[in-house]
């Protein structure tokens, strides 16, 4: 009898212990792209593990496969990710298809205010429908497409003199898109220290989002708009405006006359390679990579400097960056929300910035000395003031792939004119919106 009682007590104790462990110490999996900031987040999250008792696992997927892999996971109701730092364009699909947990109640109960974050990032990374106070993510990683250049080359007297002679202007950080092209053309094929160098590395990748992100960096400064009236999907005259056509022709000219040979399918990795191997004078890439570039022993430090995407008719930068969401299929939502609460803490946000992540928290961005904290910090702030994002509709993938095709066909494959490419893009997008019943 005693033995039976002891056995029962032991069984109940063990069961309680197991339950206690499962409810208090969870194994959380955070999914993101495989890149420099992700490594910083692994380090940062050790603090969360220490404070919460939960353990963190990470699933990082290389950028070219990130969307494919993660959207497949979400669409199949997969339980791999408890937390997902998903691209800004996924927010519409994440919200409408029920992949992301709506965070309003949680934010209210925990006193997390979206007013504490940069408005552009809240708008782009968190809200759906756009601009409404319905939050499906916390801004996690502010980002935009920017530029970096060989400061050491730009500072050399012989090169400055040659530029002055060739253009009649002083060589320096470009103030407009056209000036940037002029500088890139000046460097194209030039011999520096016995090595042939090229103007700039730009995005031309076909498969995922590369050429769209690159071309919009020209389209936005020219004044490109997706719709004449926001929310009406009236694209005729906006997408194919005279300014948009000129911007696309400009991007093609840039590609044809000022980029290294063979860069027909290049994105983030290729841009970094071209710069680090000393092939190009300038390159475009996401601000997320700038800390790593600055720290590079060969081309970083005093050899590199950064500038925001130059304006033309107006200022404009292509938005990158992501918000962090709780996946609705996760069985560990409470622990995941704990992570979001921890991450929203201003002290953690400050640490995030110091470790190489781009915080979107006002306490960091408006803090004393932020602009001096890194050589690209001021440019980052400037960029975030004028960012524009691609469609964030649930059908964003269809819209994106259509643009990838039309732009690549025109810029790289010499098919048709800029006007035709943009006209056909409107046709493609109209078909998508008609299918969705939005037109």
């Amino acid at each position: 009898m005693i033995v039976r009682k002891l056995a029962s007590v032991t069984a109940v104790s063990l069961a309680s212990l197991c339950y206690a462990n499962s409810s208090h110490a969870e194994d959380l999996t955070l999914c993101w792209a495989a890149w420099d900031p992700a490594n910083a987040l692994v380090e940062l999250s050790k603090d969360f593990e220490k404070k919460s008792g939960h353990s963190m696992n990470f699933e990082f997927v290389p950028w070219p496969n990130f969307a494919d892999r993660m959207l497949n996971e979400l669409n199949s109701g997969g339980k791999l990710c408890d937390l997902l730092i998903g691209d800004s364009q996924w927010i519409g699909g994440g919200a409408e298809n029920g992949h992301y947990v709506k965070l309003n109640d949680f934010f209210d109960s925990e006193g997390i205010s979206m007013d504490d974050f940069a408005p552009a990032t809240v708008y782009a990374y968190s809200t759906w429908p756009k601009g409404t106070p319905n939050y499906y993510a916390l801004p996690a990683m502010g980002d935009a497409n920017g530029w970096f250049y060989r400061k050491d080359w730009f500072g050399r007297d012989d090169i400055k003199a040659a530029y002055k002679e060739a253009t009649g202007e002083e060589l320096g950080e470009p103030k407009t898109q056209k000036e940037m092209l002029q500088i890139a053309q000046f460097f194209q094929g030039r011999e520096i220290d016995g090595k042939k160098v090229y103007g700039a590395a730009i995005f031309t990748e076909r498969g995922s989002e590369g050429i769209t992100m690159g071309a919009t960096s020209a389209l936005y400064p020219w004044g490109f708009k997706y719709e004449n009236t926001p929310g009406k999907y009236d694209m005729e005259g906006a997408v194919n405006s005279a300014e948009a056509v000129e911007a696309l022709e400009f991007y093609k000219e840039f590609y044809k006359t000022a980029t290294p040979p063979g860069y027909t399918n290049s994105y983030m990795g290729e841009s970094l390679d071209a710069f680090k191997s000393g092939q190009v004078a300038m390159a475009m890439n996401w601000f997320a990579f700038f800390p790593g570039l600055y720290a590079d022993p060969d081309t970083g430090g005093d050899k590199i400097d950064f500038f925001v995407n130059p304006p033309q008719n107006q200022a404009g930068s292509t938005l990158g960056g992501q918000g962090i969401s709780v996946v609705s299929y996760s069985e560990k939502k409470d622990a995941s929300l704990e992570y979001i609460k921890w991450f929203a803490d201003p002290a953690i946000q400050a640490q995030w910035w110091s470790m190489g992540g781009y915080s979107a928290h006002n306490s960091v961005l408006k803090g004393d000395g932020f602009t001096e904290s890194a050589p690209f910090a001021g440019d980052f702030l400037k960029a975030m003031e004028n960012v524009q994002d691609f469609w964030q509709e649930p059908t964003y993938a269809e819209l994106l792939l259509a643009m990838q095709k039309r732009i690549h066909d025109y810029v790289v494959a010499d098919k048709g004119t800029a006007q035709e490419a943009l006209d056909m893009l409107i046709e493609d997008w109209t078909e998508v919106f008609e299918d969705e019943g939005k037109l």
């Binding site: 669409n75 990748e205 076909r206």
Partner: protein, 312 residues
């Protein structure tokens, strides 16, 4: 006596031993799992795909109402110029890879079939490319084709005197379709060679000896003995490679990703984009059915022709 022995050796019907089960039932027990698997992984998906091809279903929009839209997906596909361009790209790739692989594969087999020292070593070296993964092949050919550091460009430049970085195999609209043909030919010619070699080695020596006695020239022996007797093997190789190349995906994705623009976007790449990137499940199902019918139809006609050649 013999008949009696045979009769006694015949086992008692199994069904009698297992009460209540006929021979037919036992046969079904054995065949059943295989048939079930076939139905589950081949027939059911096919029927389901046909069903989906008449709908507006999108696998990423689970909350959206699924509507039957008749033949609209088929109409859109057949009227879509991009689809026809991808079919053209597939046809170009298919025709030229088969042409070069048959030509070179047969030539190599004919040479390897000669008796010479190091014959086995050369055979092993030649078949190495087909043992590699297409992903690996795609990656290293991307480097070989690199205009600034690529070996391929340097070799061409060495013979032509052109600047190595003056042409881009993967980035040029004119050269990219040929660049993928070159890589596929490099990789799969050994496969055709092996099949042709089997054909050549199956020809009995006495046929050539008889031809020699009849004073037939080497050229005549080649056209009247070698080619006809290897033809069934060659046709089999064409069938295998044709089906494989019709659905070519991995190698081309590694090399060009379908670019520049869409000039190397094969039907399979287009299908994958529609199905798993744009998530137009109904539309892509219709496209898959069209491709299936095309391959199935062409393969059936071809197999009939192959059987006729064999019967000769």
């Amino acid at each position: 006596m013999t008949i009696d022995r045979l009769a006694s050796a015949t086992p008692v019907r199994v069904a009698r031993k297992i009460k209540g089960l006929s021979d037919r039932a036992i046969a079904w027990i054995f065949v059943g799992p295989t048939i079930f698997l076939l139905l589950a992984i081949n027939i059911f998906p096919l029927i389901w795909t046909i069903n989906l091809s008449f709908t507006n279903y999108k696998a990423n929009r689970i909350n959206r109402e699924v509507k039957y839209i008749g033949l609209r997906n088929y109409e859109r596909i057949l009227g879509d110029s991009d689809i026809w361009l991808s079919m053209q790209a597939t046809a170009h790739f298919l025709f030229w890879t088969l042409f070069f692989q048959v030509l070179l594969g047969f030539a190599l087999a004919w040479l390897i079939n000669r008796k010479f020292r190091g014959n086995d070593l050369w055979t092993t070296i030649i078949v190495l490319p087909m043992m590699l993964s297409p992903a690996v092949v795609g990656n290293f050919w991307t480097f070989l084709y690199q205009p600034q550091i690529g070996l391929f460009n340097y070799i061409i430049a060495f013979f032509t005197g052109a600047d190595p970085s003056s042409f881009e195999m993967l980035g040029s609209v004119d050269l990219a379709p040929w660049s993928i043909v070159i890589v596929d030919t490099w990789m799969w010619t050994p496969f055709v060679m092996l099949i042709c070699l089997a054909g050549l080695r199956s020809i009995p020596d006495y046929i050539y000896e008889a031809a020699e006695i009849d004073r037939a020239s080497k050229l005549r022996q080649f056209f009247t003995i070698t080619i006809p007797m290897v033809l069934p093997f060659l046709m089999l190789a064409v069938l295998f490679r044709g089906i494989e190349n019709f659905k070519m995906f991995d190698l081309v994705v590694q090399l060009t990703g379908g670019g520049p623009g869409s000039v190397t976007e094969m039907a399979s790449i287009n299908l994958k984009r529609e199905a798993f990137e744009k998530w137009r499940t109904g539309y892509s199902s219709a496209f898959a059915i069209i491709l299936f019918v095309t391959v199935f139809g062409l393969a059936s006609i071809y197999v009939k022709a192959l059987n006729k050649v064999k019967e000769r």
